[in-house]
């Protein structure tokens, strides 16, 4: 069995700062594995340990995604090998472009039984790549996955739905997007970290891949922020706690917060 886990090497917006003109300064942000990708790796690792599957990490992006530290960071979490497509033409690639290259890599690896992705990337959070990838591969896509067990051809997937858990059986390859809290990623041990550099890393040339052609191009034409409402500055006298609580509840109801 082969399980592919796409991962992203990127900066966390928490480490970026906003300039006075509204643009983002990323200069002090340190790149790392996108926050929810270790959840996907952990979820896939559990299935791989149960089935003996090979666990393959895949990343695509501009120069830097193939840095040795990036590969070691994910390999230390239990992947058997990684495949990297590093090309500056992907610097401003949209989600559909990224999904298309991922689909080509899955085809290059061959005989892939399952793709497990993170919930979304920490920097863009578009939640589009898993479904777009699945569409290109012609596979079902399942989001909010909390657990996966079974073998190729009889995968059993649990996913969170409003008010409960849904269980699915999938008879063929699929793309699963792990929910952000599906599992708690384990902390890599020191030996795993030190051994990660010895695991295989394959660098693929973008030009050599059969990337599916896109039928449409999506461009962001504008962004806007909701207008900031002026603070009401309403003060509540707390001399009488019971009366103050009642007044607070009334104010919150009036504002539509309760």
């Amino acid at each position: 069995m082969k399980i592919v886990v796409p991962y992203k090497w990127t900066c966390d917006p928490e480490e970026a700062t906003a300039r006075a003109d509204g643009t983002v300064d990323w200069s002090r942000a340190r790149p790392g594995v996108s926050t929810y990708d270790p959840v996907a790796i952990e979820l896939a690792r559990g299935l791989a340990q149960a089935t003996g599957a090979e666990l393959i990490g895949v990343t695509v992006g501009a120069k830097g995604v193939g840095a040795a530290i990036a590969s070691k960071a994910v390999l230390s979490r239990g992947l058997d090998r990684v495949v990297v497509v590093e090309d500056d033409s992907l610097k401003d690639a949209g989600r559909a472009d990224i999904a298309a290259v991922l689909a080509a890599v899955v085809g290059h690896i061959g005989d892939v039984d399952l793709v497990v992705t993170g919930d979304s990337s920490v920097d863009v959070a578009a939640k589009m790549v898993p479904t777009t990838l699945a569409g290109l591969l012609g596979w079902p896509a399942v989001a909010e996955v909390a657990a996966v067990t079974g073998q190729p051809g009889t995968l059993r997937v649990e996913r969170a739905i409003p008010g409960g858990v849904q269980t699915l059986e999938i008879s063929g390859p699929a793309v699963l997007a792990a929910s952000a809290d599906a599992v708690t990623p384990h902390v890599p041990g020191m030996k795993d970290l030190l051994a990660a550099g010895k695991k295989p890393v394959e660098h693929l040339d973008l030009a050599s891949l059969k990337v599916p052609a896109r039928s449409a191009v999506m461009t962001v034409t504008s962004r806007s922020r909701p207008e900031r409402k002026a603070r009401k500055g309403q003060m509540i006298d707390t001399k009488d706690p019971a009366a103050a609580a009642a007044e607070l509840v009334k104010a919150l109801r009036g504002a539509g917060a309760l």
Binding site: I69, M190, K191, L194
Partner: protein, 380 residues
Amino acid sequence: MDFELTDEQQLIRDAVREFAESEVAPTAAATDRDHRFPAELVPRMAELNIMGIPYPEKYGGAGGDYVSYMLAAEELARACATTSVILLAHCSLATWPVYHFGTEEQKERYLRDMASGRRLGAFALTEPGAGTDAGATTTTAVLKGDEYVLNGSKIFISNAPYAEIYIVFAKTDTAAAGTRGISAFIVERDTPGFTVGEAEHKLGIRGSSTPPLYFADCHIPKDALLGGEGNGFKVAMQTLDGGRIGIAAQALGIAQAALDAAVGYAKERVQFGKPLAAQQAIQWMIADMATAVDAARLLVYRAAWCVDNGRPYGTEGAMAKLFASEAATRVADRAIQVHGGYGYTEDYPVERNYRDAKITEIYEGTSEVQRMVISRAALR
């Protein structure tokens, strides 16, 4: 000159930070408040191979370098100074002499368990009348046939109630003056005649249990001798040469935690209509604190680099410990000042940083001893 950490060092630092933030930090305040040894963290650190980072894999260690080990010590101290010293006392003080001075048979018997973290170690040098003056050791080890018989006592022994393997220093030649005639021994827990006393309550690192040890006609096998008879002082001093780099890393972690807290508080607390961080007096305090922490970091990792590159590190380690420990006390003091009255309460972590920092100026060689080492080198 390359000041960057290697990929492995960065990843180790990040992994230990992840462990420290998620599993160590949440219990740090309770560990301190209750004077509680966080015994549950030892097997977790063993599971992550943190307990023997610098030792070869063939001996149960992780096969990492000393810089990585110091990064781990720093990150742990940033979350909890107690947890950091549990690791340091075990890895630097107890495991190191077995690795460097042990016979192959001793390494086979003890090193794998110690470097893997399966069995915790302790280092028993200090006595009621022998602190900085280690030569004033009065615990004796008399050879009788195939055994040594230990009599005496030790105090302030980190990890003692939970350790299983103790490196004990005793006089084998009571006629020899001063530091001569001292030998080192590997003593196992539950050896008849060996008891662990009650731990005292301390100002800081309150979860680090440091009770006395008592030896009353304690018989140990002859092959428990470590490093040859009469070589105990050399074993102790060389062990402490490396151990003090670890204490410097611990001090650095404490200082970093205090600085982080001060910066966070200064950005949020508003007085006179603006955050404290907008006030020049606070800005200058933060500048001094940040500079001290960065200087300490450079000294710690320079000393660790010396270890990794086979360079002499006695003076470098002494400089790192002297500077980092005094910086930690100073930075923690300023951090409380930035916090004002709130910093004086247990609701904020800086008072714990302040109490934890002080011991780093004292144990594993006081600042006065470090000054002796450094001046001796400088005046050669």
